[in-house]
Symmetry: C2
Subunit: 253 residues, 2 copies
């Protein structure tokens, strides 16, 4: 009992193109090839195809399927790993969907309010995300922490983010007042303010003493951060950095 490629295609539901592809990559060769060059399949191949399709339904890659079928891998182990990947991807999409949902809601709200000239205007669209610019450097220097931070940020609503931005600005202003008043960075009031800053940062990632000092230095070095601090008060970036350094030395090590 032999079937042509079209027979197998009809019986299995895949296209003949797919069967040729599986032959090409060595996943499923026909039982034999006729003198006319046609592929002929027998029951053994149908059985193998069936298993291929089952694992394909589970979204396993063709490579992994081949490994399992050729007994190069433990099916349970492969499935367990695959299961883990599926859950991770599902969670990612879930988070993503919620983020997109919030973005939609936000855009619609603005449309209703009508106080913005138009949602397609670039400078109005996604206005709340301005802070993301500061994250670029971090993404490069500490990719893992950046990733954790990003995931956390995704769970925030636009209002949360706006509120946090205002908090940050308020903190900067209070630090500027200390600076202008000539308060030394080791002063308990200043250190308490730094502590608030550290707590805020820790919502995204938890730096150790060295990392926190590095962050302080970045406020001075990085043009983006620096200009943000300079806009509040001249010299604030250095003051903030020194205060953070003192905090790191006394409280984090």
């Amino acid at each position: 009992m032999a079937w042509s490629i079209a027979d197998v295609a009809r019986m299995s539901g895949v296209t003949s193109r797919t069967l040729r592809h599986y032959d090409e990559i060595g996943l499923l060769a026909p039982a034999w090839i006729g003198s006319n060059g046609h592929r002929y399949y027998e029951e053994g191949q149908l059985l193998r195809l069936q298993q291929i399709l089952l694992m394909r339904e589970l979204d396993l890659g063709l490579r992994e399927i081949a490994a399992v079928l050729d007994s190069q891998a433990d099916p349970v182990a492969v499935l367990r790993e695959h299961h883990r990947r599926l859950l991770a991807e599902r969670d990612r999409l879930d988070t993503l969907a919620r983020t997109v949902g919030r973005t939609i809601a936000e855009l619609e709200e603005r449309k209703d309010e009508g106080d913005m000239a138009g949602i397609t205007r670039p400078e109005n669209l996604f206005e709340g995300f301005d802070a993301s610019r500061y994250e670029a450097e971090a993404r490069e220097r500490w990719p893992q922490e950046y990733e954790r931070s990003r995931r956390f940020t995704e769970t925030l609503t636009a209002e949360d983010q706006e509120r946090m931005q205002r908090e940050t600005t308020a903190q900067m202003i209070r630090m500027a007042e200390f600076m202008v008043a000539g308060t030394p960075v080791s002063d308990p009031a200043v250190q308490s303010e730094v502590d608030a800053h550290y707590q805020g940062v820790s919502r995204f990632w938890t730096p150790n003493a060295a990392a926190y000092k590095g962050l302080g230095q970045m406020y001075v070095t990085d043009p983006q951060f620096r200009s943000a601090y300079d806009r509040v008060a001249a010299g604030l970036a250095e003051y903030q950095r020194d205060a953070m350094t003192a905090y790191a030395d006394t409280r984090l090590s």
Copy 2:
């Protein structure tokens, strides 16, 4: 104020290769190009890049991003459609993960029982899914119904599937008894049995008269189905088909 490609890469966190790619596909062209061929970007480009990255975070395709930014599409509509796709894909993965989880449990159970020679033996692996073979024809002829059926099947546990297989077999045996006894297919007892069959099929998809007759014909034509019926009793496939045809004519039209 102009930035080189590496500057922009550092600031934004993407690679220079990506920026060249965006230029290539017309998503983000540099502000101008130096006499040395180098790309130079200005604030307008940074702003556009920022929006690109935001939408990319939302997993939008570059094509769609371009359409939104060039005001060829309504952002809210695009996001809404995207949201729908995300949810659908998430649900698919969720179902899939559960299916894979059950498969793992099933495989492990068999390992514990130890009455099978080895789980990697093809004829034992995924045994519960044997019925899927019969679905191939349906997938081709009625793709939509097949899809619905597949989704339904995925919600079943392995035990459910086994039970349904036993039910099917029992039905076939009862039909074979009628056939051997010479009962005409129009006999109420036979028709009642066919009704049970129709109800069973309807859990997957609800065929109209023509489709149900087509299914009956398939039992005769398709070698897979035919051999299944022939294994129970010679001529059963035709008897079943005739009974189904009578049922379709009297009850479904």
